[in-house]
């Protein structure tokens, strides 16, 4: 992956992590207004980054594969590969 792609992936990872953290907090504090606001804010960032990533590089879920000539799910590395975590042009 290029360092540009890694950078966008890291943005998704950071925003997704904020969502997981807020989700688990809200499970035991379901009416906390600050928690709800925090979740909404990061959800927006996360969805925007995922949309940009998928349009530039390929699907993050198999269900998002929408190609007519190629099953795009198999075009990008799986995340345990070193190349999915390191920019080839670093």
């Amino acid at each position: 992956m290029t360092s540009e792609q890694i950078k966008l992936m890291k943005k998704i990872q950071a925003a997704s992590f904020a969502l997981v953290e807020a989700n688990e907090y809200l499970d035991t504090h379901p009416t906390c207004p600050d928690g709800l606001e925090y979740f909404r804010r990061h959800k927006e960032v996360c969805e925007k980054a995922k949309k940009e990533y998928e349009s530039k590089y390929g699907p993050l879920t198999a269900a998002a594969s929408a190609g007519t000539r190629k099953w795009e799910w198999v075009t990008q590395p799986f995340p345990w590969e070193l190349c999915a975590n390191e920019g080839s042009d670093d």
């Binding site: 997704s16 997981v20 688990e24 035991t28 699907p59 269900a63 995340p79 345990w80 070193l82």
Partner: protein, 198 residues
């Protein structure tokens, strides 16, 4: 149901393979306090949780543990890539290699394969949450021990992330226990679950 996303929860980028580290880190997938046991514990216990808050907590933490298992597996995968037979022998990785080559298999550092006897699902939410609190502390201690054994900053970084998650999950299970005790019987100082016999 679940849907897979093609990303790690936190990046794993290990420059230098080192099978001696893989030999101990493997306990955090298949060992007594590892991520596989954690995930199975919470995802099995959730059906006897009596309220939505705790059903949600067990579902969401149990799901996050699967992502942690994937991170540990990625660490093992990267630590054991491109090894020569000489390196395998020198690291004492030959005992694992003979059974699994460099495939990922859930076992403890001692070589004992993963077993469901590492966790309980007791059907009593107070009993289960006490186990869950202890499990998070035991996993945190295991990560502390790994950090005592590992110098490579590339390996320490994701391990430190995983250690912090144990601390947060302990907090969430503490809140869950408080919620359920208040809900079942505010005057039940002895913390047993009276719902089954009533």
């Amino acid at each position: 149901m679940w849907q897979y996303e093609k990303k790690l929860q936190y990046p794993v980028k290990i420059k230098n393979p080192d099978p001696t580290l893989a030999k101990v880190i493997i306990s955090q997938i298949g060992g007594p306090d590892g991520e596989l046991g954690a995930s199975m514990r919470y995802l099995n216990q959730r059906y006897s949780a009596p309220c939505r808050e705790i059903q949600a907590t067990l579902t969401d933490i149990g799901t996050e543990e699967l992502a942690h298992m994937e991170m540990i597996s990625a660490i093992l995968y990267q630590l054991t890539r491109n090894l020569s037979i000489e390196e395998i022998k020198k690291a004492g990785f030959d005992a694992y290699f003979v059974d699994h080559t460099t495939g990922i298999y859930p076992q403890a550092a001692s070589g004992v394969p993963f077993t469901a006897s590492y966790f309980q699902s007791k059907g009593d939410v107070i009993t289960d949450l006490h186990e869950d609190l202890a499990a998070e502390q035991k996993a945190r201690t295991t990560y502390d021990n790994l950090l005592r054994l590992i110098d490579d900053p590339d390996v320490r970084d994701p391990i430190k992330f995983l250690r912090e998650r144990e601390v947060v999950h302990f907090q969430r299970f503490g809140e869950s226990l408080r919620l359920v005790q208040d809900m079942l019987d505010a005057k039940n100082f002895y913390a047993y679950n009276p719902s089954f016999d009533k």
